[in-house]
């Protein structure tokens, strides 16, 4: 477990050393399809998955509570 955690930390650290992309170079990254979040249209789709499956969370949204679901 400790080894895995260290590996994740090393990977995260290596991201930070990536080439810095300037604001004026972010035209592709600013495309609406590149947003690092679930699309709003998926709100109720995610909701039924939370009800029908045991797993939830780790998607930037809710991870439990608020309903009589799993």
């Amino acid at each position: 477990m400790i080894k895995k955690t260290l590996l994740v930390l090393v990977i995260l650290g290596s991201f930070n050393s990536c080439v810095v992309v300037k604001e004026y170079e972010k035209v592709y990254l600013n495309d609406p399809d590149m947003v690092l979040a679930d699309k709003k249209i998926n709100k109720f789709e995610t909701s039924f998955q939370v009800y029908r499956e045991a797993a939830s969370g780790a998607n930037g949204g809710k991870s439990g509570g608020g309903c009589g679901c799993n």
């Binding site: 604001e23 039924f48 029908r52 780790a58 998607n59 991870s63 009589g68």
Partner: protein
């Protein structure tokens, strides 16, 4: 000389221009009020209803709508109001009371309170029900309402965002109050982002129970009183039992929900990083602890080591697990029992890549662990394809697999010697495939208008979901985004 003066004036004007430039203009976090409307229609069917102990119809439809209004209070602050309503009709929930006279047993009214006091008889003078037939009691449908109010503040340099929210939700047997806070820090020229979030949900049950169990408690275990008065109870062979004898039906456990609270505490860490001019990644880690009554008091269980008893047509007992059974119902051994704590640890990652001006790639993966014995993997891929400057198609595929909870077993395979037990197939071992297809229309100039609202985008999506346990589902969603003048 004139030339020198001209050059000097020109240079001074440049100086003045640069001064204006350094007197920085900060873009508002949100230029105008935005309104998002999303509606969906969901339908499912399957043969493993949890309310009827892991067998029976799972037919369910749900219509839901949400409106989110984001209001810029000033250049840095946003106030958000979100309201959601979701109305469902469920065959399995209706069988909380399968003996409802106007449902499986054909006739009478919809008053579940009355149904609990005395079983209704049909025109033939018998009481029956079936896990395969939708009943019509009060529990056949419900409305879930949810409200959420949020506030966020961004720093002048837009490198810090702090926010908070409160929420309230209500359904017929459940109430929830939620509080949350979040903090996001951007650095490395906004190439790196770290977010922290904490939420608390203080929920409570207003429990509803299977009719036979709550009725048994109400008549102090007297099978000749209340709901059971004048109703024949059958054994496995279809013979009518002597209700005052030694071998009669009784619930295994007559203690019901003792602690009606169900609290959820979650902490989330997110990390986002730009990898190149065309790629970015984010990683999410949630730590979730739940305490309280985590089982659903509506859900029956049937033990393999206890005798079976029925109400209804004796000749249908041999067909009980077949959908051909329309007129006999097995009395529950108990409601599901699950531990009063649950620890969840999901970790997920998104990786988006801009392939070219036409196609992008959106991917998502999640690993999930909890201390009920469930682990799962979720993989999702989406391929947005721009077919014009306003229209984008987005096919999606999602694969999901989970292991079973330690406490799950199918109908009649649970043992009464266990401390915890459930036949809810949402906690069973299964995998699912989901295919989706969407189309989105975007008009950045908001040329189409309704009152003061300009239509910015429209999204339509359909997804089809299939589980290897037999559950199938489909959902169609429509979303509209408006910007106010």
């Amino acid at each position: 000389m004139k030339k020198q003066i001209s050059i000097l004036v020109l240079m001074i004007s440049f100086y003045g221009f640069s001064q204006n430039a350094t007197n920085t203009y900060t873009k508002r976090v949100l230029e105008n009020t935005e309104v998002d409307l999303i509606s969906s229609f969901y339908g499912q069917d399957g043969d493993n209803a949890a309310v009827t102990g892991g067998i029976g119809t799972e037919k369910l439809t749900d219509i839901a709508s949400t409106i989110t209004v984001s209001i810029p209070l000033n250049a840095n602050d946003i106030f958000t109001i979100d309201a959601t309503i979701s109305a469902y009709s469920s065959a399995s929930s209706s069988n909380l009371n399968p003996f409802d006279a106007s449902g499986a047993s054909r006739g009478g009214d919809d008053d579940e309170e009355d149904d609990n006091k005395s079983a209704k008889k049909n025109v033939a003078g018998t009481v029956n029900g079936s896990p395969w037939v939708e009943s019509s009691g009060a529990s056949k449908g419900d409305v879930w309402v949810n409200g959420d109010i949020g506030y966020s503040h961004s720093s002048e340099n837009r490198n810090s965002i702090i926010g908070a929210n409160v929420s309230f939700a209500k359904e017929f047997d459940y109430t929830s109050i939620g509080l949350g806070g979040n903090f996001t820090k951007l650095f490395n020229e906004k190439n790196t982002e770290i977010g922290l979030k904490a939420n608390i949900y203080m929920d409570s049950w207003q429990p509803a129970y299977p009719t036979e169990i709550i009725s048994y408690k109400e008549v102090n275990n007297n099978l000749n009183d209340g709901f059971f008065e004048g109703v024949d109870i059958l054994d496995q062979k279809g013979s009518i039992i002597n209700k005052t004898g030694n071998t009669v039906w009784s619930p295994f456990n007559t203690s019901l929900v003792e602690n009606k609270s169900r609290n959820t505490y979650s902490a989330s860490l997110s990390f986002s990083q730009i990898l190149s001019k065309k790629a970015q990644i984010s990683i999410f880690l949630d730590i979730v602890q739940q305490n309280g009554w985590l089982a659903n008091p509506m859900q029956r269980v049937y033990f393999g080591d206890r005798a079976n008893y029925y109400i209804g047509n004796a000749s249908s007992i041999s067909n009980y697990t077949s959908s051909k059974n329309t007129d006999v119902f097995q009395l529950a051994d108990d409601i599901e029992r699950l531990p009063d704590t649950r620890f969840k640890l999901p970790i997920g990652a998104r990786l988006n890549y801009y392939i070219n001006e036409v196609i992008s790639l959106r991917t998502y993966y999640r690993y999930y662990y909890d201390d009920w014995g469930i682990t799962s993997h979720t993989a999702n891929v989406e391929l947005p394809i721009k077919i014009s400057d306003k229209f984008t198609l987005f096919p999606t595929y999602r694969y999901y697999i989970q292991t079973s909870a330690d406490y799950f077993a199918p109908y009649e395979q649970l043992l009464s010697t266990n401390k915890f037990y459930t036949s809810d197939y949402d906690l069973s071992e299964f995998n699912s495939n989901q295919f989706g297809f969407g189309i989105s229309y975007t008009d950045i100039f908001t040329s189409r208008r309704i009152w003061k609202l300009g239509l910015k985008s429209v999204d339509l999506k359909y997804s089809n979901y299939k589980r290897n346990t037999g559950l199938t589902a489909g959902i169609i969603s429509a979303g509209f985004k408006f910007v106010m003048d």
